[in-house]
């Protein structure tokens, strides 16, 4: 299969990447890519626009950070706990959100995410404005020291590959088939006996757990969980990444996250740093108006036309 060859090539590239690129940058890209892939499962494959996904990323981050600092967990358990917590929050939020459609769905997710933001702002164990700093990376399985950036990078890569694999599998599963049917024609899916809200809910839970996985991983990488991770800015950024890369394509969010993180890193060092939001906003507008299918979507179209 052509797809598989492409994935293999990308994987080999990712294995070799730290030889040329700074591992922390690569890890940042992978964390945001996983976040965007998780978000895209909902937007691109279930047709649900969540405007509160930062709540899940942040929850993963805070829970992992807190447990790593205070309970001395090994990193794999810390990440597992963060992921589960985000999935649990997703289960509750999802239950409330999937009853609404379209813009109302987006508004409910935004409102619930703001609730989470204020919780993390006020709660005594989150460090308020400072966040949780100095989160130890710990030793993977008790013997691989993750303070080494290269070791950490390969761990993050493994997590990303797992998350990506799970999303791809979900999309190409019996469940994914129903999701597709719901997105294509919801009333018809109901008339075939599907309780569509239950399917949307499950997609929401998987998506939020994986967003939590991204957040937990990110907290280990940067040894920090902060309010930025639950801020609505981030919920917006993940929409941007997904649309720029190509929603509803498996690789789009990866490409989009790569592009946005690269632009942010490049700009924040230079004199244009103050204009980051304006520049990202402009990119967003251009994408929505001119390349509605995103970078990967556009690329796929070109391939189709030429072969």
């Amino acid at each position: 299969m052509n797809d598989k060859k492409l994935y293999l090539a990308l994987f080999i590239l990712a294995l070799a990447a730290p030889a040329v690129l700074y591992p922390v940058f690569l890890m940042k890209v992978l964390c945001f890519a996983l976040f965007a892939c998780a978000f895209n499962l909902l937007l691109g494959f279930a047709g649900l626009l969540s405007f509160g996904h930062a709540a899940f990323l942040g929850t993963g981050g805070y829970v992992t950070g807190y447990l790593m600092i205070n309970a001395g967990l090994t990193p794999e358990l810390g990440i597992l706990a963060g992921t589960l917590a985000a999935g649990l929050l997703g289960a509750v939020y999802g239950k409330l959100a999937v009853r609404r459609e379209g813009i109302y769905f987006a508004m409910v997710t935004l409102a619930l995410a703001q609730l989470a933001f204020f919780f993390y702002l006020q709660a005594p164990f989150t460090g308020g404005e400072d966040g949780l700093q100095g989160v130890p990376r710990g030793e993977l399985f008790g013997f691989i020291d993750l303070s080494n950036n290269l070791a950490m990078y390969y761990f993050v890569l493994a997590i990303f590959v797992f998350g990506f694999w799970l999303i791809r599998r979900t999309v190409h599963s019996p469940f994914g088939q129903v999701l597709k049917a719901i997105r294509e024609n919801e009333p018809r899916a109901i008339s075939l006996g599907y309780n569509v809200n239950d399917y949307k809910w499950l997609a929401f839970v998987i998506s939020s757990a994986l967003a939590g996985l991204a957040g937990s991983t990110k907290t280990l990488v940067f040894q920090l969980a902060s309010l930025n991770d639950v801020h609505w800015h981030l919920s917006g950024e993940v929409v941007l990444m997904t649309l720029v890369g190509g929603m509803g394509t498996l690789l789009g969010p990866l490409v989009g996250a790569g592009a946005i993180v690269t632009i942010q890193n490049y700009l924040s060092g230079g004199e244009l740093g103050n204009y980051i939001h304006i520049i990202l906003g402009a990119i967003f507008v251009v994408c929505v108006l001119a390349f509605r299918s995103g970078i990967v979507g556009q690329f796929q179209k070109m391939l189709k036309q030429n072969f």
């Binding site: 599998r169 979900t170 190409h172 599963s173 019996p174 049917a181 294509e184 018809r188 599907y194 309780n195």
Partner: protein, 272 residues
């Protein structure tokens, strides 16, 4: 006549903001029959379908299916209980293949629709059954086509195959021949006749030739209320029905065979 009714409505009412679209309708659908629901545009036929399948909640009245009150059931549950509908606007999954359209219907009777960790390949065991259903409606050659690319008539046929996949006891067809050319109408009418074996069909249909050929019993709806009911001869002889359809008291002969060319013109939607 036996008194075995698969579906009954009791004093069914649906009001939209003061406007009563369905007004105190008592339907009795006999098991095994083809029952047609006819009436001019806006009479409330689609609304009745939406009530029967709970896409709309009745303002008043109740629904009995096999003697059981289903008024409080949810749409998906009603579908699983055996009442499966088609839609007035062709309802297919455009970006799924023709085979996948049927398969996703078959899948709803399997227990694996929440299995997100399994490869889609596990659905392949449904392919044979799906192909059988496609063959039944004359779509075997189109199995791998993208549904979007099918001509309209074939989409409607696919919709029927998809509906059949659920092996419904009661099939609700909302204008299955609407917008079709003469040949497609014949094909679909034949198809409905064929699949009616062993099940009950309630259909909304404007083409009176189709109605006369297929329907065992006809209910005429006008402004939300039942105008009259009976077999084709009875209903078509009723001057009120001809008035409702033509807007004037027409004195055309009622037998459909005697006016083949004007049958289409009787359909208000075709004239509109």
């Amino acid at each position: 006549m036996s008194q075995d009714f698969i579906l009954e409505t009791r004093n069914l009412v649906k009001a939209f903001k003061g406007f009563t679209a369905v007004d105190d309708v008592n339907l009795k659908i006999e098991r095994g029959a083809i029952h047609a629901l006819i009436g001019p545009n806006g009479a409330g036929k689609t609304t009745v379908f939406n009530l029967l399948t709970k896409y709309l909640t009745p303002t008043d009245g109740s629904l009995l299916y096999n003697g059981r009150d289903i008024t409080a059931m949810k749409p998906a549950a009603i579908a699983r209980a055996g009442i499966v509908r088609s839609f007035q606007i062709s309802a297919v999954f455009p970006h799924l293949s023709v085979l996948e359209n049927v398969r996703v219907a078959l899948q709803s009777r399997e227990g694996n629709s929440f299995h997100f960790w399994k490869p889609v390949k596990v659905l392949d065991r449904l392919n044979d059954r799906a192909m059988e259903l496609l063959a039944d409606v004359g779509l075997a050659d189109f199995a791998s086509a993208r549904t979007l690319d099918l001509p309209y008539g074939r989409k409607r046929a696919l919709e029927i195959a998809t509906t059949l996949a659920l092996e419904p006891e009661l099939m609700l067809l909302d204008e299955p021949t609407q917008g079709m050319g003469h040949e497609d109408v014949e094909v679909v009418a034949d198809l409905i006749k064929r699949v009616s074996a062993g099940r009950t069909i309630l259909m909304v249909e404007h083409n009176l030739q189709v109605v006369s050929r297929l329907a065992d019993r006809i209910t005429v709806l006008q402004r939300g209320a039942v105008l009259t009911e009976g077999d084709y001869a009875t209903v078509s002889a009723d001057p009120r029905v001809r008035e409702a359809y033509l807007g004037v008291a027409a004195d055309e002969p009622a037998a459909p065979q005697s006016r083949p060319a004007s049958v289409e013109a009787l359909a208000p939607e075709a004239r509109a």
